[in-house]
């Protein structure tokens, strides 16, 4: 978690008020993102919207604390592997449909765990696909925004 001296370190990022509030609000944003992903089959949202919200929590941290802090706490190799893991999970769900029921991408959990309509445990493999997509989109967007922010104004500008 965040140390007291890192919060009061005024050299990078913004003022101490912004840093304190950001570290509290980040938890709420992640919770909201997970809610949107999990309830994707009942309310609007789903994998993509929830993934964007998860990525934006880390963007808030990046703006409030500076890039080096975020890079220390969330190494880029880990995020890149999480990204690939999300996509592989989605492909795995699709191929498991082929294995279990003979047709690609079929909703195979509908037979084994039917659930009740309008409850959380319903609609078979759709919540699992939402989780995989949310993971992938969150990781990808975080990587894109982090890497684009290393923009240097004047390097090797020779003609």
């Amino acid at each position: 978690m965040l140390q007291k001296e890192e919060i009061s370190n005024g050299a990078k990022g913004m003022t101490i008020i912004v840093k304190t509030i950001a570290s509290w609000v980040k938890v709420l944003i992640v919770l909201f993102g997970i809610y949107i992903i999990l309830f994707g089959h009942l309310t609007p949202g789903g994998g993509f919207a929830g993934g964007v919200i998860l990525a934006s929590s880390y963007v808030l941290l990046m703006l409030a604390f500076g890039r080096e802090f975020v890079q220390k706490n969330m190494p880029l190799m880990l995020v890149s592997k999480l990204d690939c893991l999300g996509a592989l999970l989605f492909a795995l769900i699709a191929i498991l449909g082929l294995v279990f029921s003979g047709v690609f991408f079929v909703n195979f959990l509908q037979k084994y765990l039917p659930g009740w309509p309008l409850k959380l445990l319903s609609a078979g493999t759709i919540p699992l696909s939402n989780i995989a997509i949310g993971l992938k989109v969150g990781a990808s967007l975080f990587l894109v925004i982090f890497l684009l922010s290393t923009f240097r104004r004047d390097t090797s500008a020779n003609r």
Partner: protein, 504 residues
């Protein structure tokens, strides 16, 4: 052994996301895995020749769910995609050692192959758009892979024009959905047959022709092609020029115009005029070039003109209600030229990559006399040049002969004259390549140039053998019946596509 159709898309996609997990230490393992995937796709594509299938994804029946359709045209293009991608991946095992970040290159390459397989197999028009975008995005990133000055400029030009084309295509899909209420291609063609074309559908057809024409680099939409093909790494130029412009442009255009909307005389004449413009403009612009890959890029534009000319000629003949045998001969010439061009143009780009790796330059004026230093490259380049010019018994001769015969039989003598004239221009430009690269005298700084061994040679020799053997595809009747005739049949049947898909 035949595999379920979605695995053609799922295998390269899953492998593309598996490869970055290998990290920096597993570079050799990643290359071996990627090559295994492309070679196995080639085996599966050969095993699925001659089958037709409709695969419903998720067991949702057709108007509610997405389906994948494999018919004659799809299996021909699937074969072409797998051959060229297997050869290019084999070549890039050795060529891409000079770039960093090779694992990302392999991922993007496999994503592009997955996207192209999806375009060819899709039976739903929005699904076609999504896979088209996947393949296009992967190719924009691959063109600018080296991140040098020229590559970034070429990639930006390609990307802006390609994205505008994709937005046009999405707009056309929206118009089609608004007018017919369904997205499945079989159901759309049935609705259009029932109610006829209104103003919205005419506008959608115009937008489709512009969008797919820009992806296929027809003149006047060709402005991105010379820069993009010149600056990309050599195996990517081979893939782009060999199959990407054909799959995303010509296949999608033929599918939408012939099977969904139905041909008319004006559309056929539009395609003929675009084809003639491409042939002549590409040939004239190519003769004056001094950069090796830029010359080959312009000659790609010219050869794509041949394919569109064949298809447009067939469309005009079908729409006029003439003899169906003449129309299928014209379409046979166009499709056979498509497959031939995929093989020999990718071979030409691979040999140019080999020359560039040996000598370090692409300018024709700085090379010369490389015949003794690079003997195998010289042989394969000569085979490919003889094919593209149209010297018998190589494959290019047969496809051009079929196109000329089709034009003469239909009564368009002036089109046949233009075809022969552009072949002469192609001869001039490839004689220029041979003279400046391989004959002449060796400059001082290239005395140490030596042949590249290993996987690059295997890929080039494989494609060169195919160049020689492809002539047998039309000469041996049984091969022609299995591979080429079903593809021609799909296009000449036209609007019967909807009945075929629903019946399967």
């Amino acid at each position: 052994m035949s595999i379920p159709l979605p695995l053609f898309i799922a295998i390269p996609l899953a492998t593309a996301f598996l490869l970055p997990m290998f990290g920096r230490k597993g570079k050799t393992a990643a290359t071996v895995l990627a090559n295994l995937v492309t070679i196995s796709l080639l085996v599966f594509a050969v095993a699925s020749i001659g089958k037709t299938e409709v695969y419903e994804i998720g067991k949702w029946s057709i108007p509610l769910g997405i389906n994948l359709v494999l018919d004659g045209l799809s299996s021909l293009l699937l074969l072409a995609i797998s051959v060229v991608s297997a050869a290019a991946m084999l070549f890039s095992a050795r060529y891409m050692e000079q770039y960093t970040a090779k694992a990302k290159y392999l991922s993007l390459f496999l994503l592009m192959v997955a996207g192209m397989n999806g375009v060819v197999l899709s039976g739903d028009i929005f699904n076609l758009f999504v896979f088209l975008e996947i393949a296009s995005l992967a190719s924009y990133a691959l063109v600018g892979f080296g991140c040098e000055h020229e590559e970034l400029e070429a990639s930006f030009k390609y990307m802006v024009l390609g994205t505008i084309a994709s937005v046009f295509i999405l707009f056309a899909v929206a118009l089609v959905y608004g007018n017919t209420g369904t997205l499945n291609m079989a159901y759309i063609s049935e609705a259009i047959q029932y109610s006829g074309l209104n103003a919205g559908l005419d506008f959608a057809l115009a937008l489709f022709i512009v969008g797919f024409g820009l992806k296929a680099a027809l003149v006047p939409f060709h402005a991105w092609l010379p820069d993009a093909h010149q600056s990309a790494p050599a195996p990517i130029s081979a893939m782009l020029s060999g199959i990407l412009i054909k799959t995303l442009g010509i296949y999608a255009l033929a599918r939408v115009v012939f099977n969904v909307f139905g041909v008319s005389v004006s559309i056929g004449w539009l395609l003929i005029i675009l084809g003639l413009l491409s042939m002549v403009a590409g040939a004239f612009l190519a003769i004056g070039q001094w950069d090796l890959k830029r010359l080959m890029a312009y000659s790609s534009i010219s050869q794509i003109g041949y394919v569109i000319l064949g298809i447009g000629l067939g469309a005009t003949l079908i729409a006029r209600g003439d003899n169906l045998a003449w129309a299928s001969l014209a379409i046979l010439g166009g499709l056979f030229h498509l497959v031939n061009h995929a093989v020999y143009k990718s071979l030409l780009f691979l040999t140019s990559g080999s020359v560039e790796m040996s000598t370090g330059t692409r300018q024709l004026k700085q090379m010369g006399g490389l015949a003794e230093k690079l003997p195998l490259t010289r042989t394969t380049c000569t085979v490919a040049s003889a094919s593209i010019v149209g010297i018998p018994p190589f494959s290019g001769f047969w496809s051009k002969l079929i196109l000329v015969i089709a034009a003469v039989q239909a009564g368009f003598y002036w089109i046949a004259a233009i075809i022969v004239f552009v072949s002469l221009c192609t001869l001039i430009m490839y004689l220029k390549v041979q003279r400046y690269v391989f004959l002449g005298e060796l400059p001082e700084n290239l005395q140490q140039a030596k042949e590249n061994k290993g996987s690059m040679l295997v890929a080039m020799v494989f494609l060169a053998c195919l160049c020689v053997l492809m002539g047998l595809l039309v000469l041996v009747p049984s091969l022609k019946e299995i591979i080429l005739d079903p593809a021609v049949q799909v296009l000449t049947d036209g609007l019967k596509y909807s009945a075929d898909v629903k019946g399967m």
